[in-house]
């Protein structure tokens, strides 16, 4: 199917499962009933019934989601104007929104989060080259297909003969995971299939000889093929893309379906696709529109020209490219810094409370803190991020992506900090507590004035390490739609096939963001270590 960048299919499946358990079965448990009502009434999208548009900020808003990271030619950041979205699906959504008297509003979400976000009512619909497979149909409601395409074989120019599935037998063939093309290949010659997450890697490996051929959706083949590669043979199979809606919103689906029908019959869809050089005989058959109007593929040529200019290796092209990246890298760095700094504050505060509870609390408190630390340390951060963002709404707690990111990172690192602080607390000699108690301090005063300050000095060096680790782990919040540094890198590098230059840029940004923390820790160590270095005998 599509050209989303980070196609971690396993995660997608997991996210589907998550929303199956909490999202759809929870708030969407009326889905079945709604379906039946709609089917019984047989009067979908009656003008009297107001449309339910989840995530809309006002009555004209139509928020729709896609993974716009290097997702050419579906929905992607226009390389000519970074920060502006484009793509044939983008154009289609503009047309649909306008026809519905609404303003289409693009919402970025990672591929894995698209469907869970749908069941969380973050937005009204998802369009991202989602194949209308039985598995997908089980999770969402589909519109009628808005695009029908085929799989194509791509070869190096020097290669000949491998132009049918039969001929490919015995050769190493690459494709994208969980696609119709992959299923075809697995049925045919399973041992020689190589499945990729990302189109850029797939095409690089064909060029450098790791693959003999690629079988892939035609739009991807067209847009990712460089001049040293060729499309061969006749079209294979049939792939249909549908717009996805939550199961409990057939009303909106029906409204969009009716608009899609209009766009097909009045030639608007034809026009959009032709501009992107994507109008195919299959589309003509599907829509019954056999006309051949003279529409220039302007979007296609613009994209090709821009990429030629931007991805050139001349000094000028490179400077132009990197300068255009700067604002994106800066805003990614800002997000990384914001999430990390707030998460650190949370981690220190919660970690200290947990450590005190474990070291000095009463039995039940000690036990609860112990279980917290073990559970949080023992499960992957990624699961925790997804759980907090997509799982908690089932219990009535809806957090913004930013709050969920800070919370999950902070609570996760709190568990590590707690163990760190506990070790620090236990390293303070017993006599210190006794002296404080003998001076008539309460336990709380003794902890606050005597024990914690001493423990803190011994844990500062370890904390510095943890904080640098946290800074890097903050990249995980990209799965809940936050575009931080790592996400920026993935998007830029895979758009321009430039892993080195953008890697250096983003790496430098990480170092610059991390530097203040290291510096701060150094100062703290110096100021406090002065005594502790020789303090304990």
């Amino acid at each position: 199917m599509t050209g989303a960048t980070m196609m971690k299919r396993v995660m997608f499946a997991l996210a589907l499962a998550l929303c199956g358990v909490w999202g759809v079965a929870g708030p969407g448990s009326h889905a079945l009933a709604d379906d039946m009502v709609a089917a019984g009434a047989k009067a979908p999208a009656s003008p009297a019934a107001p449309l339910r548009v989840p995530g809309a900020t006002d009555e004209r808003d139509l928020p729709w989601a896609s993974d716009g990271e290097a997702n050419v030619p579906y929905v992607f950041h226009d390389p000519a104007h970074e920060g502006r979205m484009t793509g044939f699906e983008y154009d289609l959504m503009q047309a649909i929104s306008a026809r519905m008297g609404r303003h289409g509003r693009f919402v970025q979400n990672g591929w894995d989060g698209l469907i869970p976000g749908l069941s969380r009512d973050l937005y009204a619909l998802v369009i991202d080259g989602i194949e209308m497979t039985p598995e997908h149909k089980a999770a969402v409601l589909f519109s009628r297909p808005y695009y029908v395409t085929v799989d194509r074989i791509v070869l190096r120019n020097s290669e000949t003969g491998l132009d049918t599935l039969e001929a490919l037998k015995g050769h190493v063939v690459g494709t994208i995971k969980s696609t119709a093309a992959e299923r075809l290949l697995l049925d045919h010659d399973p041992s020689n299939v190589r499945s990729y997450d990302e189109e850029t890697n797939l095409f690089s490996d064909l060029k450098n000889g790791r693959l003999d051929a690629i079988l892939i959706d035609e739009p991807i083949a067209l847009y990712y093929r460089s001049d040293d590669l060729k499309l061969v043979g006749s079209p294979i199979g049939r792939v249909a893309y549908g717009i996805a809606f939550p199961k409990n919103n057939p009303g909106l689906r029906d409204a969009v379906d009716s608009v899609l029908g209009d766009l097909m019959s009045d030639g608007t869809l034809h026009q959009i696709l032709a501009r992107w050089n994507l109008w195919t005989p299959q589309m003509a058959d599907y829509t019954g529109d056999q006309t051949l109007p003279m529409i220039k593929p302007t979007a296609w040529t613009d994209y090709r020209q821009t990429m030629e200019r931007m991805s050139g290796s001349s000094m000028q092209a490179m400077v132009h490219r990197y300068v255009s990246f700067l604002p994106l890298v800066a805003s990614g760095a800002l997000m990384t810094l914001g999430v990390s700094a707030l998460a650190m504050v949370l981690a220190v505060a919660v970690g200290l409370v947990l450590a005190l509870a474990r070291a000095y609390g009463m039995a039940p408190l000690r036990w609860v803190a112990g279980v917290y630390v073990e559970v949080v340390r023992g499960t992957p951060l990624l699961i925790q991020v997804l759980f907090i963002f997509y799982g908690l709404p089932a219990f009535g707690l809806r957090l913004s992506p930013f709050a969920a990111g800070v919370l999950s990172l902070g609570l996760n690192y709190a568990a590590y900090e707690a163990e760190n602080y506990r070790a620090g607390l236990l390293s303070v000699p017993r006599g210190q507590m006794e002296a404080a108690i003998a001076l008539n301090m309460t336990h709380m005063q003794a902890l606050r004035l005597v024990i914690v300050p001493q423990a803190f000095r011994t844990v500062v060096p370890v904390m510095t390490n943890d904080f640098i680790a946290l800074l890097k782990d903050s990249s995980l919040v990209s799965v809940i739609t936050l575009t931080e540094l790592s996400q920026t890198y993935i998007r830029l590098s895979s758009t321009y096939y430039d892993y080195i230059g953008t890697g250096l840029m983003v790496g430098t940004a990480y170092l610059l963001v991390g530097l203040p923390f290291v510096r701060l820790a150094r100062i703290a160590e110096k100021r406090m270590g002065r005594v502790v270095a020789k303090g304990h005998h």
């Binding site: 002296a435 005063q445 304990h536």
Partner: protein
């Protein structure tokens, strides 16, 4: 002024204190001596409830804390009140290493007694002057000798204006000449009328400075009385044995 009765304490079935009673008069300096493991330090720590006795009662300046074996929050509240009248000095000094000498002395008066910082500062300076540490009051504890640290610890305890001072082997970690600095401070306090209880291995000090000496063995006070009488002519065989091995 300090009255303990029936103090008993066991650690894991091991009887350390077997019902000790003691009456301390205001202004007395009492030395507690005895072989290692006889329970003398534990007894001292039971007097301000750093250890919770299994049974017995302690009364200081009208505050009574009785232990029934179950230590409850209400007991801790009462013990906290009692500790307001009791100062303690440890073998290992236990100064707070992250604070200067002066801050060590000022901390509890400000935080516990809510004393004005200026007042606390004045009192701390007076006390440090008295124990001969005025010159080093802004140093951190690790820059002081053992004798200086222990004198600072005494000043720190005195800053809370206790009625009675408990010393748990105050000179055991010190060289003889450094011990003398500490002991002379204690003698000076005695002269001022401070009530003091000292667990010690320093027999010379016990004999010369004490008003009364207690000899403990196996969790009990075996013999007590005037130091000169006891050292010259111990009544009990245990006391005799102990003093013979030492002298």
């Amino acid at each position: 002024m300090l009255k303990a009765s029936g103090i008993a304490k066991s650690f894991g079935g091991n009887e350390i204190l077997r019902g000790i009673s003691l009456d301390v008069e205001r202004g007395e300096l009492i030395s507690i001596i005895g072989p290692s493991g006889c329970g003398k330090s534990t007894f001292l720590r039971c007097l301000n409830f750093l250890e919770h006795p299994d049974a017995g009662e302690v009364q200081v300046e009208g505050v009574t804390v009785a232990s029934t074996g179950q230590w409850r929050r209400a007991d801790e509240v009462k013990a906290h009140r009692l500790r307001g009248h009791v100062g303690m000095v440890f073998q290992s000094f236990n100064l707070f290493p992250h604070r200067t000498v002066l801050e060590n002395v000022m901390l509890a008066p400000i935080q516990v007694k809510r004393m004005e910082e200026q007042t606390a500062h004045r009192i701390a300076c007076e006390l440090l002057e008295k124990v001969g540490l005025a010159a080093v009051q802004n140093r951190y504890p690790d820059r002081l000798s053992g004798g200086q640290q222990q004198r600072a610890a005494i000043a720190r305890a005195l800053a809370m204006k206790p009625s009675v001072m408990l010393y748990d082997e105050p000179t055991s970690a010190l060289d003889p000449e450094l011990s003398e600095e500490v002991l002379s401070v204690m003698r000076a306090l005695d002269a001022e009328g401070m009530t003091q209880l000292v667990v010690t291995h320093d027999m010379r000090f016990a004999r010369a400075a004490s008003d009364r000496v207690l000899f403990m063995e196996a969790g009990q006070i075996v013999e007590s009385g005037d130091p000169d009488v006891m050292f010259a002519n111990p009544r009990e065989p245990g006391t005799r044995r102990f003093l013979r091995t030492l002298l």
